[in-house]
């Protein structure tokens, strides 16, 4: 459904834009319908830039992004973009800054209606809204007709997902959507994503938290300095990390039932087998992947 092919993004940095920063390096990625793909990386790994490029908020410097066979980067004009957003929507980290505090929170539904469904009758629209509210498990009485400050972060975040569901979306880009939520409400939003997946929605789940990425996703992509370090079925990536960077990252995650010392001791007692990593020549910007086992790829080492 969504396919990224040799995507690069180079930002100009420095006082006069003289220096260059390669934020995304030769990324190849596919998201199928009904699949959650986690993009996991530390700050500066390029994960949000990929999300932005998929949403058409910034253009790749090189490479192509196609959605259902159509090139996303060559969308021209308001009409084509609007049509694209009917199928692809994003939800972002901070739910409080996604709303205009002057207006009631459910105004986001009205905006969708006026731009995409101007012909729908009031009663039909009302039914549609109640329908999506039910999907995201929000009680309409508690949420409709309220201002953003009267709602919790979890409620606002689910409201934004409901807004996206009003359209016939096929791909949702979820950029750190639970980082600002409390532990007790986080899991509700994650479960909601799992529900949506079962309805056939493709989800690109961008996160820095490895345990969250693991909970919902079918496939995980670990990014390091803009390039893919490791990509594969979530279970394999977490049970048998092959890239030294993913191993390091996994050993640093605070776990609930195991301390860091225990994890280190386990690693030392049973060192994982090494795989041959692809190498590139100095000055070559590509980042080839090697298939180590079925569907499980490792990339170049940049440490």
């Amino acid at each position: 459904m969504l396919e990224l092919s040799h995507v690069h993004k180079v930002y100009r940095v420095g006082a006069f834009g003289g220096a260059k920063l390669r934020a995304v390096r030769d990324v190849n990625l596919v998201v199928e319908p009904g699949e959650v793909v986690s993009l996991i990386g530390e700050s500066g790994s390029g994960k949000s830039t990929i999300g932005k490029m998929v949403l058409g908020l910034t253009k790749p410097s090189q490479g192509s992004i196609t959605f259902e066979g159509k090139d996303v980067t060559s969308l021209r004009g308001f009409g084509e973009k609007k049509e694209y957003y009917r199928y692809v929507q994003g939800v972002f980290q901070d739910p409080f800054s996604s709303f205009n505090p002057i207006f009631k929170a459910d105004r986001v539904f009205e905006l969708i209606r006026s731009s995409y469904f101007p012909g729908v009758a009031d009663a039909d629209w009302r039914k549609k809204v109640l329908d999506v509210m039910d999907t995201v498990r929000l009680d309409p009485d508690n949420v409709l007709n309220k201002y953003p400050h009267q709602l919790s972060g979890g409620q606002l975040q689910r409201l934004l997902i409901a807004r996206a569901l009003l359209l016939d979306i096929r791909l949702l880009v979820a950029d750190e959507i639970i980082s600002m939520l409390d532990a007790s409400t986080r899991i509700d939003v994650l479960n909601l994503l799992a529900d949506l997946k079962e309805r056939g929605l493709g989800i690109l789940f961008v996160t820095h938290d490895l345990s969250l990425g693991n909970y919902v996703s079918d496939r995980s992509v670990i990014l390091h300095k803009g390039a893919i370090a490791e990509m594969g079925p979530t279970k394999r990536v977490f049970d048998n990390p092959l890239h030294p960077y993913s191993r390091h990252l996994l050993s640093c995650v605070p776990q609930l039932h195991r301390t860091w010392a225990e994890v280190d001791a386990e690693l030392a007692a049973d060192p994982p087998e090494d795989v041959e990593l692809p190498v590139v020549a100095e000055g070559d910007d590509s980042a080839p992947l090697v298939e180590a086992e079925q569907g499980h790829f490792v990339g170049i080492d940049q440490s």
Binding site: A183, I187, L256
Partner: protein, 317 residues
Amino acid sequence: MTLRVNDLKVYYQTLRGDVHALDGVSFDLADGEIMGLAGESGCGKTTLGKSLIRLDNRMRHIDGTVELDGEKLPISDDDAMNRYRYHEISLIPQYAMSALNPTRKIGRMINELLKARGVKPATIADELRRRLELVGLDPEVLDRFPIELSGGMKQRVVMVMSTLLDPSLLIADEATSALDVSTQRSVVESMVEFRDRGFIKSMIFVTHDISLVYQMADTVMVMYAGRVAEKAPAATIINDPQHPYTKMLIGALPEVGSTTDEGRLEGIPGTPPGLLNPPTGCRFKARCPIASEECSETPPLVEIEPGHWAACWKTGR
């Protein structure tokens, strides 16, 4: 006993009335103890940290006492507290690393801070360098501006700076939340090392991340709506929690290795009560699956087994 907090009540004054942010908090902190303080946003964990060092002008001390090393702290008297601040109690506030003065080099900033607290910088310069090296920083950072350092380096500078006078108590409020996992691990490990070397006697580590607390804390205290729900050794809180809130909170955390295929985790339905007019009795009763009539009375915090405290009518009998 480093710190003894007894029935502490601190309210925020607002135009609509008092917000009962801390409503009868009692706990002890032993020498050398690192206590993780966990809870949802708005449960009063940051207020507790702040109350121990400085009440800002909206906060009012209603009742209760705080004792540090056997001495009663005058927490409601801003001027009298000055003697303790930085010397005896030190705080790493949330976003501390973004609050470094951008116009000063790190070294000059630390010297100014020491002078403001009546300490000659020269007497401590060697120790400062030694400690910077201990946390893996080149003493050269003293000649750099904050903008030249990465997040993890800034957080380590803040940590060294705030513990330079060997305070009895260090309060770290979400000190590592903004860092990447690998940096977070090394900062947390240096904090534990500071305690092991006796630079700080004991520490309160405020965070919303219970799995992080499990990595480093000796004990964990869970707060809910301005009160203590449970306090116990870290392993007990994770493996054998007694208070229903703690149980549900731990149950809602996805782990590395858990997926939706193996069964879904459940969140806690509902939201914490507003603290402007808090409900009577147990504050968790509206969200609690086992609440009954007796919960309309406030449950006391009782020691259900040595070192394990919980405030719930259903435990400890």
